[in-house]
Symmetry: C2
Subunit: 457 residues, 2 copies
């Protein structure tokens, strides 16, 4: 059998760094969301790029699917071996290779997590800003084009990855990009790889843009009488060009979940969580201007988190929103929506979503990076009631159709994986066929993460 032959060759190459044990396979067959357990045939742990290339050549010789694995925090089933094959776990390739302070960039291996990277950077006065909440691996974040709470100011992974080393489907190793701040030297292969979810290659090294730690940080939280006024405050903040570093919305259901899970004492109301970065004078001025906007929209007092530990607690709570919400319905699994719309369409998109969910039979707290026009409904379904998953999918469909009609996208930051495949034709039309054409050209055997992002073949 082809896959078994591949695993035999991989064992010769890697020895004990190949596993077929059931607990290991199951740990690499789990998703954070509603997808069923899908264990691969084997898991391997390479130590370096040459080994990854060798693994790739072995798998190509035996027509064996290859799926990259970072921290396993993706939400659309990106890491699941739906056609069997070998999961390449990058956890041993987690070094921070080269910090260049003068150029404000860093080269890392894919397995390093964003928290470990920022811990390593602590003494430099620089930080890597992209923050999806979960302590994801940098490689995984690049492959899903992750973003998160700070994207409104610092951009997505697309904006912060400046170069990659990639092992292609045939085992060739390429380097994309350069360390220059810009280049016009041909197709943007870095940009093509970022967000490709492991379907075009395995990333073995990344060069990232770093940012200076701000002189001053002002963060705060405020409740609003209703969702409409909170969202209106967001759109006004963005349209005025106020440079928020974070601008987050949670609805009343999420606030209640924070109270229950994280011991918060929030009102039973929608809230905005904000942060401003800048000079001492500048950040304070921005925070004041935001306070005025919030007040104009009926905010019930802006509470500042003035101490660093208060800010950490605030964002830790926000980062754990997903787990707090899951906790609100014990035993539930989640289908997480992820639409992103132009700012002007945000009020309509959020309010229509809440109306839909209220009229449905399942709970669906809403939280999101509204400064980008991106928000999530976490639809909580009973895994033993297939009708509930169907209901959640119906709600998700309606949200996405609305987002596309408003000029938006089906996924702002979670990626396609398997969960959003169903929307790709509607969003991209023949553009989706172009993606398949590119995929076939670079991976004619369909070895790399088959069943994800592009149309199945």
């Amino acid at each position: 059998m082809a896959i078994a032959d591949a695993i035999g060759d991989l064992s010769s190459l890697l020895g004990e760094r190949v596993s077929r044990s059931k607990p290991v396979l199951e740990a690499h067959g789990r998703s954070e969301t509603h997808f069923p357990l899908t264990p691969p045939d084997a898991v391997v742990w390479p130590d370096n790029t040459q080994e990854v290339a060798h693994i790739m050549r072995i798998c190509a010789a035996h027509d064996c699917p290859v799926i990259g694995w970072g921290a396993g925090t993706s939400l659309e089933g990106q890491g699941l071996a739906v056609r069997g094959g070998v999961v390449v776990d990058f956890s041993r390739m987690n070094a921070v290779l080269d910090i260049r302070q003068a150029d404000m960039d860093v080269t890392v291996q894919p397995g390093v997590t964003r928290e470990a990277l920022n811990e390593t950077l602590r003494a430099t006065g620089l930080f890597f800003p992209v923050d999806p909440g979960a302590n994801a691996s940098i490689g995984g974040m690049a492959m899903t084009r992750a973003s998160g709470t700070t994207t409104v100011r610092y951009g997505t992974m697309r904006d912060n990855v400046i170069g990659l080393e990639v092992v292609l489907a045939d085992g060739r190793i390429i380097e994309t990009g350069s360390r220059a701040r810009k280049s016009a030297a041909g197709y943007d292969l870095t940009g093509l790889m970022v967000g490709s979810e492991g379907t075009l290659g395995l990333v073995t090294r990344l060069t990232l843009r770093l940012h200076g730690l701000p002189e001053a940080v002002h963060a705060g939280i405020c409740a609003f009488p209703d969702m409409g006024s909170a969202v209106a405050a967001v759109t006004e903040t963005i349209q005025m060009g106020l440079p928020a570093a974070r601008l987050e919305f949670v609805d009343a259901a999420t606030a209640r979940a924070f109270n229950a899970y994280a011991g918060a004492r929030m009102r039973d109301a929608p809230h905005l969580l904000v942060e401003f970065h800048g000079s001492t004078a500048g950040a304070a001025e921005d925070a004041e201007r935001f306070a005025e906007i919030a007040e104009d929209h009926g905010a019930l007092g802006l509470e500042m988190a003035s101490r660093a530990e208060d800010r950490r607690a605030l964002w830790a709570m926000r980062h754990n929103a997903y787990y707090a919400i899951l906790n609100a319905r014990p035993g539930a699994r989640a289908l997480v929506t992820d639409i992103c719309v132009p700012i002007s369409a945000l009020p309509e998109a959020v309010e229509a979503t809440q109306r839909d969910i209220s009229a449905s039979s399942i709970p669906g707290p809403i939280a999101g990076h509204v400064g980008d026009g991106n928000f999530h409904a976490i639809l909580l379904v009973d895994p033993n009631d297939p009708g509930e998953l169907e209901e959640a999918k119906r709600l998700s469909h309606r949200m996405t159709e609305r987002a596309l009609a408003l000029g938006g996208t089906c996924t702002g930051e979670h990626g396609v994986g398997m969960g959003k495949l169903t929307f790709m034709q509607a969003e991209h039309g023949d553009g989706w066929a172009v993606m398949s054409t590119i995929k076939r050209a670079l991976d004619p055997q369909n070895l790399l993460n088959p069943g994800k992002l592009v149309a199945s073949n």
Copy 2:
């Protein structure tokens, strides 16, 4: 004959909007730099996307090359019909279709120039920042991934194009991107098309990010005793995180050219030209901090252009640097280098370049967007002396080899065209072969701008 048959069919479709007149063909066969006159077989002027698709299908049926044409300001021969065929001139498709102030974006046709666009935007308080100097078309700017004086603050075309409509080689029309501020929905086809120089499709519509006009603008110019101290002031400015909106270097030879061509009264010395955007207090503070840095590096006084007309004159002079330099050697043609290096490597790259040019037999004033690590030597050659072009190519090679060794790129903003083809293998290795693979997959007949960017086949 295949091309003649295509032109026959195009004439049936477009009537008088097809030309084979010699002056028209020659006007579309000229380059701004040293490439020889290369007239196409015909020029066509489509009025809308459907016509572009129809043109593409006709040309595909007859194996006739198709080259897009904007304002003809590219510097690497991107618009030249080196294998004959039809130039598609987008000058009639120059409408600003939809300005959405609340979302700070705009949809335009490719033929609109950046100056015309900003004129149309004037009343909105918004502007499109990318500024390569020349009054290029927006479509052409996207296709070369243009950048320029303001990129240090506002990014390149890659950062400011959020969606495209593209006619593919087979006549299909796709839309890439969305109007959402971010998306993780599959491969970044917008990013793949931006910088593809018309080799993957013809762009028929673009959606662009706009920026708010700053409350305050501070611009100025200062001379330095030598090139090293000017460049050191730049690297310190960038490394301190001072948010310059423009940060430009010109050497003494360029200053002399400005004096001769534009009636400037600059010292015979290297200069920096700077601009800061921000709030009234913020921009002034930034300008002051820059003045301190410049002084620390021996600047001979910072002269502020405090009135709007003074700023316009300053940047008009900078924008015309290329023509001022050409004027310094009457009858000369230029080979323009365009390397971009990490900021920390900028002093070494600039100084070694000047040493090389001083030791050569041809003049080569240096100017550039040093805030990005990008600068140009404009190598002036006698078109009747083939030895001089060879000498210029030799200098360009040495600069590029040095840039690559320093982690940089052969072209920061001018693109590949024909002029930088020779460096692509060294810069990208097998990555260049990947570009060819993508090109063949999307344009198997090699109809779209053949002979540019990818390896010839």
